[in-house]
């Protein structure tokens, strides 16, 4: 089992439904978020390209946040999901500094919080909240170990990229371009 998320930048309109859905699903306090939208503009008027996309923890194979965690609170769980054990987290922030994607934040209760791929929903056979609400259906989620899964097929057939490949983290959030 190797979970992965795919976001089709050709369809994403940057509406932020994924952000609100994550907040309400995971009780993320107002003022914080586990996922967010970025906008990149290239070129000059009127020869322009615009990319909108939803970002979050990349659930890296080679996760710097896990490597640098002094207490072992950050770890890689089933399906490659990178998780934080809040009661073991001392809130030192080393993981926040080490993450090339700026995907972690200090929860007001003192521990570090981040995207869990909604593991509690996966347990019920549901998709992560962000994927389940996306009005453009630009988000996909599944198991890369299964060659017939939607995510495996998409990566086989569509041009894609990951973020900050130079960091050597081997992310598991992919972007169709």
């Amino acid at each position: 089992m190797r979970y992965a998320m795919i976001i089709d930048t050709l369809k994403c309109v940057g509406c932020s439904d994924c952000v609100v859905a994550c907040q309400t699903e995971n009780d993320v306090p107002i003022g914080y978020c586990r996922d967010w939208i970025t906008e990149t503009v290239n070129g000059s008027y009127p020869n322009l390209e615009l990319e909108l996309k939803s970002e979050r923890c990349n659930h890296c194979d080679n996760a710097p946040c896990v490597r640098c965690c002094p207490t072992g609170a950050s770890y890689v769980g089933v399906g490659g999901i990178v998780l934080v054990t809040a009661n073991e987290c001392i809130g030192c922030g080393a993981c926040i500094e080490s993450c090339p994607y700026d995907a972690r934040y200090q929860h007001p209760d003192g521990y570090v919080d981040k995207c869990t791929f909604c593991h509690h929903r996966l347990e019920k056979g549901q998709l992560p909240a962000c994927v389940s609400v996306c009005p453009t259906k630009c988000m996909y989620f599944g198991d890369l170990d299964n060659p017939n899964s939607e995510v495996s097929q998409l990566l086989k057939n569509r041009k894609h990229k990951t973020l900050a490949p130079e960091a050597g983290t081997n992310p598991h959030v992919f972007y169709l371009i």
């Binding site: 439904d17 967010w36 939208i37 909108l52 769980g77 453009t136």
Partner: protein
């Protein structure tokens, strides 16, 4: 659009002791008992779900409200069975929970009073507020007639107050959704095809091969099913052509982005007609069979070559030809989208006509991938006496505009101004569900009009700016706390949805149906409100429709089979368009007879003088009008608007992203608040852009107050559409002030 994400928080003690002690690991996430326990707790969470449909915008998507064991609303999720929204909500629908939790909500009825010479509001009981309204209404009816009481409305609360007003003898009713929004397109399409576009637009985007958007920002406007279908169209490889001076989200997803000079769209469309006809690539069979006035149209557009249009629009002739051919190639599966907020320059009905004519030339009306024939389920009216016949109403007030099909808000407001010759004096105003001081331009007219009123009531869930002008403010509970009218959606398939309260109304807020009934009974109109609870109305209606409240509470949505016939024109038969002669009117004799151009013409519109920029405005996907700016969840995504400025302009004036500026318009009106600059290539050098709906003045809106600029206050020049009375708002120009104009003023 990037969400602000971080706040430095001092590390405090962990607050998770209660759940941390568990040892019953079920090894779901890597032998970590703590996480496993959290997951287990989360999985076993019990939610109750209650049927509703959304009221954060006007699309009315069916959803489920999830409440936890403590009775708290936790989330709102789309109803999978809804053929109107395909089971998904937009960010505003998901964030609708913030409308309920917002601690700044109106909490009790308020009555204007004077304390030490200062006007203020005092809290009042419902009885006191309702008695006051009833006595004022009675007095105005006796002196001036019930017609002198007007209603300006939007959304679900509006329909309950409309029933009250009509029962009392007034149809002096209008809504910004017409003259400030989609009115011109309804008139333009009605003149051509004999039917309105309506809401939602019956655009067959799902099956289209070519979608043409002219200043329509699908993706920034989150018109739910339109956004979803555009995404499907992208998947299936449809050609998208976007005409917009700004690189909108939709423009960035388009094969062709035509970065047009603002206010020249009609010239482009005339040249498209020219290419389709000169090259003989229009749908000849469809036009021969269904249209009248083709010869006049052909003669009219023969002069409007792409070379002619190039000089006006800045779109190159070969691009005009290539895009016209792309449309013809896709025809009839092509959509020239009618747009929604289309009150721009005052010739808007004519621009809508040009869109309708292009659709006709491409044979797209009534064809798969073009426009389908929509259908809605009929909801029977709950038994009530017939309304009395008013002596005058919205029609008479708008009589100057011969093709107005609904009340014109600005004309209703003008009837409030003191004027001896005014045949239609409006003395009292109810405002329900709309923040008219932001929805309508010409703030001075609005303020003068409201000032002249004898009495004004505002009904809202939030202390929007308009509440500050009221004599009585009534706090409405949110859509999550009440029964309401049945939603009947007009789509490919008819469907209905119901709204059931998930929780009791918070504070001392009440549903609009209750307010209407209470006022009605005080006015002796009890026969019009023959029920104790609105639930009884829905129960009766649902039974008439072959279902029941009990069933609907379980399913939320019911889809009905079509009864009106096929969705598209049957190619073996001759379809009769609902016009006077059953044909499409390319040439409009009706317009000719009324003294208007029977075929659309390009008119040159004013351009910004030196040092000024055209003020363009639009939508952000996470906000609706001005109503969501204070919603804690949606405010978190976007707290204020920013001013998009082209880098060339930024260099000249010396502006940097994030810099605070003020705006002054052509009439020397200066923005109340400042706005932050966003230097971006996405906007042209002759215009600036901002998202509508910010710059709230009411201090009761703790999150939204003073954040960003209210575009509407800078729209003081209105270009009125002579055909239907729409208020064109895109001809205002602003200068950018880098110095605080209020620095010597005490506020």
């Amino acid at each position: 659009m990037t969400t602000s994400r971080r706040k430095f928080i001092k590390i405090s003690a962990l607050g998770l002791g209660a759940v941390a002690a568990s040892t019953t690991a079920i090894n779901m996430f890597g032998s970590n008992s703590y996480i496993d326990e959290l997951v287990k707790q989360n999985v076993s969470k019990k939610f109750k779900r209650t049927a509703t449909y959304c009221e954060v915008c006007f699309w009315k998507c069916a959803a489920w409200t999830y409440t936890n064991e403590d009775g708290e609303i936790k989330k709102i999720i789309g109803n999978d069975d809804d053929s109107h929204s395909y089971g998904r909500l937009c960010p505003r629908g998901t964030g609708g929970v913030g409308m309920y939790t917002d601690e700044d909500r109106l909490k009790t009825p308020l009555i204007r009073t004077t304390v030490n010479g200062e006007q203020t509001f005092r809290k009042a009981s419902w009885d006191e507020a309702l008695d006051l309204i009833a006595s004022k209404f009675k007095g105005i009816k006796e002196t001036h007639g019930a017609e002198s009481i007007a209603l300006i409305k939007h959304g679900a609360p509006g329909s309950h107050l409309e029933h009250l007003l009509k029962a009392f003898g007034s149809d002096t009713i209008a809504e910004p959704a017409y003259a400030q929004c989609r009115g011109p397109r309804e008139t333009g399409f009605n003149l051509t095809f004999g039917s309105w576009v309506g809401s939602p637009e019956p655009t067959d985007i799902r099956d289209t091969k070519c979608l043409v958007l002219i200043g329509s920002h699908i993706g920034e406007n989150m018109h739910n099913s339109q956004v979803q279908e555009m995404s499907d169209a992208i998947d299936s490889g449809a050609t998208i052509i976007t005409v917009d001076p700004r690189l909108s989200t939709a423009a960035s997803k388009s094969k062709f982005w035509l970065a047009i000079k603002p206010a020249t769209d009609i010239a482009l469309m005339l040249s498209w007609m020219n290419v389709l006809i000169e090259e003989g690539i229009y749908d000849k069979e469809y036009i021969n069979k269904y249209a009248t006035g083709f010869d006049e149209l052909k003669k009219h557009v023969s002069q409007f070559t792409p070379e002619w249009a190039y000089g006006i629009t800045t779109i190159k002739p070969d691009v005009i030809r290539e895009t016209a051919r792309a449309m013809a190639h896709a025809a009839p599966a092509v959509i020239i989208h009618p747009g929604r907020h289309v009150v721009w320059y005052g010739d808007d009905s004519q621009r809508a006509r040009a869109m309708a004519i292009l659709n006709a030339l491409l044979g797209s009306w009534g064809r798969r991938g073009g426009f389908y024939f929509k259908e809605a389920a009929k909801v029977p009216n709950f038994p009530a006496p017939a309304y009395p016949e008013p002596k005058w109403g919205w029609k008479e007030i708008g009589e100057k505009y011969p093709l107005a099909q609904m009340g014109i808000t600005n004309e209703v407001m003008k009837c409030m101004l003191p004027d001896k010759d005014n045949k239609y004096p409006v003395k009292a105003l109810m405002v329900a569900g709309t923040n008219i001081t932001k929805a309508m331009p010409n703030k001075k007219l609005l303020e003068d009009a409201m000032d002249a009123l004898d009495f004004m009531v505002v009904i809202d869930t939030m202390p929007m700016d308009v509440t500050g002008y009221a004599d009585v403010v009534l706090p409405e509970c949110t859509y999550l706390e009440r029964y309401d009218d049945i939603r009947s959606a007009t789509n490919r398939e008819p469907s209905i949805a119901i709204r059931v309260p998930a929780v009791e109304p918070k504070y001392d807020s009440k549903p609009a149906w209750w307010m209407a009934k209470q006022i009605g009974e005080r006015l002796g109109l009890g026969a019009y409100f023959n029920y104790d609870d609105f639930k009884e109305v829905i129960e009766w209606q649902l039974k008439e429709m072959g279902t029941s409240l009990e069933e609907m509470e379980k399913i939320g949505v019911k889809n009905y089979p079509r009864k009106s016939g096929p969705m598209y024109i049957n190619e073996d038969e001759t379809y009769h368009f609902p016009t006077d002669n059953g044909k499409i009117h390319l040439y409009s004799q009706e317009l000719k007879d009324l003294g208007f151009d029977p075929l659309p013409n390009y008119t040159k519109h004013p351009e910004p003088p030196q040092g000024f920029y055209r003020l363009n405005y639009g939508r952000a996907p996470m906000h609706t009008f001005s109503r969501t700016a204070n919603n804690p969840n949606l405010n978190d995504l976007k707290k204020e608007n920013d001013l998009w400025v082209n880098p060339k302009v930024a260099r000249i004036i010396g502006l940097k992203s994030g810099q605070e500026v003020w705006l002054k318009n052509q009439d020397d009106i200066i923005s109340t608040f400042s706005i932050k600059v966003r230097v971006t290539e996405r906007v042209r050098w002759d215009s600036v852009y901002m998202v509508h709906g910010f710059g709230h003045q009411n201090k009761e809106l703790s999150r939204a107050n003073g954040k960003g600029i209210n575009d509407t206050e800078l729209i003081t020049k209105v270009f009125t559409d002579p055909i239907m009375g729409g208020t064109g708002m895109r001809g205002n120009f602003v200068a950018i002030l880098t110095e605080n104009p209020y620095k010597n003023t005490e506020i």
